[in-house]
Symmetry: D3
Subunit: 246 residues, 6 copies
């Protein structure tokens, strides 16, 4: 069910066991070749695809497109919520519906920078609403690593940023928005390796890319998105139909 | 210019005298016959229309669709930000762009409940960024009262909620989303008159309507929207081209 | 009833159907001729007048004199609360009384800059206390436009700031505080017209005045205040005695 | 100088070495015999007296009458700010004046419950404005203990609440507001002694009194207030005229 | 009982009449001769000593060592919480235990700068948990003035900062951490006296000391600490065993 | 260098290229057999070990032991900060030192629940202090998966909670605090698998354990800790000595 198109009387009559699916994206730099709305386009597509497969099990909200993108703000056009503001938005969606009996919520995320604030939002909501179910994950976490390693041809086998994978997916969904000739490769690593340092993107890359965008193709994009559709569909269906902890 | 579709390098090359246009809407009950996204649909349409007329003078952001709708929360499906969260979102959009030199911002509002928090957001931003220009208004404030009085046939001559005017405009833009047979009239007044009391919609109306929806037509909707396009275009153009206080 | 002069045992014995009347003012520049406390003096006078007429229907609190006056801060002597602090103060007054059974609250405002935060405060309170009644309005909103147009002789027919109307009212109430010889006229408009831009007063006027102060007289002030007394009295009485929504 | 009665041009012309004097009071229960505004009446009187003695050294603001009175809220009529709201109000007064060059601030307090938030407010302000001078104290802290012990006849020799001292001072200033026949004595102690436990007043006393009100007289009130006038005057004068740390 | 060493099943089986004892310290400059952790070392020692005497009456938490030390931040190495953050920490400890039935809490403080935020924290907690008991005090408040005047030989007879008293106590507890040869005397006063001005330590002293450290000895330290142990033990025992207000 | 034991003059003389190491732990249930302080004990041991190896490269603060443990609060004795309070504490430590020129900070974490708020804290600090370096990681993230898989004998090869690994490490460090006879195994999984749902521990386990504690031994604990020492030492040394992004 698509919340935005319904009337309040339609919502009144819905089953309360629906999983409320809340997509979270961003509007932030994705290199010189991808639109600022890349993450929002991708997560919205996955969420809408899942809703089409599970219309009786999902209540889909519009995408919260203003993400936690402080590490991209040096690139003009990037917009970022504060962490507090971001958490407030996600929480407000949930807590508007809880008094009406909805009790299953899943934040489907399209932007790595939202992962920590989504975690905090869901944990704080859980602490206030102990009987309800809250989940969150990036759609990209449902693409198995071995599968993405088979699909991607560049040296980076995981999704990074404005990379082979993201470029391919946007090429599949919105080819009109990809500036193919501006694609660049950028294979950033630290030498020697450090694992925990927080870097802003302008410290690492001049063009905003982390990865190997030149190898992108719409076919790869479709293959990756199909895996995401499958994984997210399975996750949401499990939450709807029930599972056992033991 | 449409921010969401641009790359960061496109934005880098823009003129800083553009007026950043930020539409604010809601997802809230609009009676049994209009979609929850009514305000967001309408304000987005006006904003996009203005951008089409003034592409070299406007930088249009996506619509902030999560409004301040606490007074509708008794109707299932309505979502509301807290006032703080709402103000944080509007402010974050602005303050992401200010460091890059953009200095003219206009919040175009589609939901009466956002008026006060928009005012507070803009005034607080002005206090922090004295050299920049901040404006806000409902698109409906640009429909002259005498004109709307001519167009509307029901007894209420001003826009209220899920009324003859809003229904007509959605019929014009998204006829697929109007449940014509569910339209109702509701001519609420207080007796004797009070003017300052804050009422939740469930205190006033069982169906969520304030106004005379049964008289709606797509033609009326087009006429009203054309007036809004004209008024908002004039306002934005004046801010862009300059005006004198004396 | 005047809260500040009562003892707690007096309050204990009051009827809970009293309307708690909370005046909100400011301490901010009012041109070179009016005292900083202008708004607070005026709203306090109206509120006290209403209490004298309706002693058995009103419980009057002291005036919250620290307003939301950020747009006047460039003029020395102006004091301003933050919006959050302002809302906190109004809300604290209300929520101190609710546990004791008072359930009707009306904020009578004397400063235009408080209108939005008063709206937000009352709406947030309403959302937390659904059974209670909350209202707010400027006292000036009860002066009918046709009447003020008859009384005022200058070209501006509505109340602006440190103008013919405000100067006249202070002359009536506190002639000792008006520096008659410093009155100035200032007929600011924007050319071409813009309607939604937020301006600080130092952007518009060197002396802090918006309006035609030189035409002021105590007689005009009395006439305006009498209209305000009448209008506010009627509003409060209606809330106390009851009204029907239909 | 009395800020509320001045115009902004008057303030513009003031010396910046003035000590801004900010009285803080409360509106809270003071037994069955004293008005809710007791603390505000007393601190305002002291502050006004000091201003009269040192008009060229003091800039007096209106009294912030909404105190931190959570421990009295069980008694109807008591109003309390939150701690955050209280600190915000005091800080807003200061930070409205700092940009205009005022740099000496003294909070004169009339309510024991405000002492800790005044301390926090002043310390946080000091950390933000290292070059400015901030002070705060209760006016009662300037009444020497041996002197009050000589003046008071009841067994409690220090000021408590709605006690011999406070009743006497209100009798001196506002005899019309004291219900003499309702005065009571209440000599509360804990047995055995504890010193650090936070008690609400309704845990300790049924009538709201801590102390020996029946012995009050206007003469004692005048004697106490004169001591306060002297002490506060000396403190403010020292801050104005300068002192050396060594 | 020592909370940190227990398992949750141990805590489950505890009596709920235990007084939860929460030590609060600081990590801030204490002159050139004492460790930054001085306050935390001292308050922890007192709290542990009290727990050893009253193991069946006390549940001791670890020391909250991050204090409100903004007035020491000019000295490198000093760490300070914001007031809000400090209050949040103390409150979180309490409100984690209240749902499990613990209802007596005592904050034992080792740093003067924490006194006001401890007061605010305890009062706010009391307002939210009316049936529970909250207390707070500095351990130093339990050293009678006449006794400390007998023990200390320098001209300052009360505990100040990095002074004869504090140096002596650290010498007794952790002689390895005292740089005896760096001890200095500093007998700061203001001339003429002011009592309410907030000073940062770098305004008063170059070395961070207020007092007469050179006279310190471990014997004096032991004598002072024994008095603190006795006083705090008596206070906690009274709260545990009960007392009467009358 | 151990901050707590130093004087401010010692800190004044330190090199500013030191990495400030801030351990974060928890006080929360760890099954019926491990102390509430388990995470704090472990992370403190690792941090102290690293400081001993790199005394000239590390400035070690005391452990922030109050973690984000809301998901354990159903088990008595667990304490939890709010997310805001937790972030405030970490940030306060950093921002006390930045004005003195320290510019490298690393939060070493001992509790999985702190990961998201550590991420948010470090990212917000980075946005405020663009020139400084901020890192964070769990010490456990430095134990290679293949190595822990070799060391652990139970079916779970990764660290979970109060499990074979944690029990072993506490046995190595503080054998006196392990109740060996209360160890239990708990091999929780969900059936079918879900990956993003937030569960409180009382929803999953009656005893608070996730993992196979019965196989624990001090030897395994030492082996795991040695790997953590090595990994964290390498990370901190790299940050201190410098690395290149390319």
């Amino acid at each position: 069910m698509i919340l935005r198109d319904m009337t309040w009387t339609d919502v009144r009559d819905l089953s309360r066991s629906l999983v409320v699916l809340i997509p979270t994206g961003s509007l932030e730099q994705h290199g010189p070749h991808l639109p600022l709305f890349t993450d929002s386009i991708l997560v919205t597509a996955v969420a809408e695809g899942v809703e089409r497969r599970l219309p009786e099990k999902v209540l889909l909200t519009p995408t919260l497109w203003l993400g936690a993108s402080g590490h991209h703000l040096a690139f003009p056009g990037s917009l970022s919520a504060s962490f507090e503001g971001y958490v407030a938005a996600v929480s407000a969606v949930v807590e508007s519906l809880i008094p009406h009996g909805f009790h299953r919520f899943y934040v489907l995320n399209g932007h790595g920078g939202n992962t920590s604030p989504n975690d905090i939002a869901m944990r704080a909501l859980k602490a206030r609403h102990l009987e309800a179910t809250f989940g969150h994950s990036g759609y990209f976490a449902f693409i198995p690593e071995d599968a993405s390693a088979r699909i991607l041809e560049g040296p980076a086998k995981k999704m990074r940023h404005a990379c082979e994978a993201e470029t391919s997916m946007i090429q599949h969904l919105r080819p009109d928005l990809v500036r193919l000739d501006r694609r660049v490769d950028d294979g950033l690593t630290s030498e020697p390796a450090v694992q925990g340092v927080v870097h802003h993107f302008d410290e690492c890359t001049e063009n905003g890319v982390l990865g190997y965008a030149t190898g992108s193709s719409p076919e790869k994009g479709k293959a990756l998105l199909d895996l995401a559709f499958d994984g997210v569909t399975r996750e949401i269906e499990t939450i709807h139909d029930g599972y056992v902890l033991r």
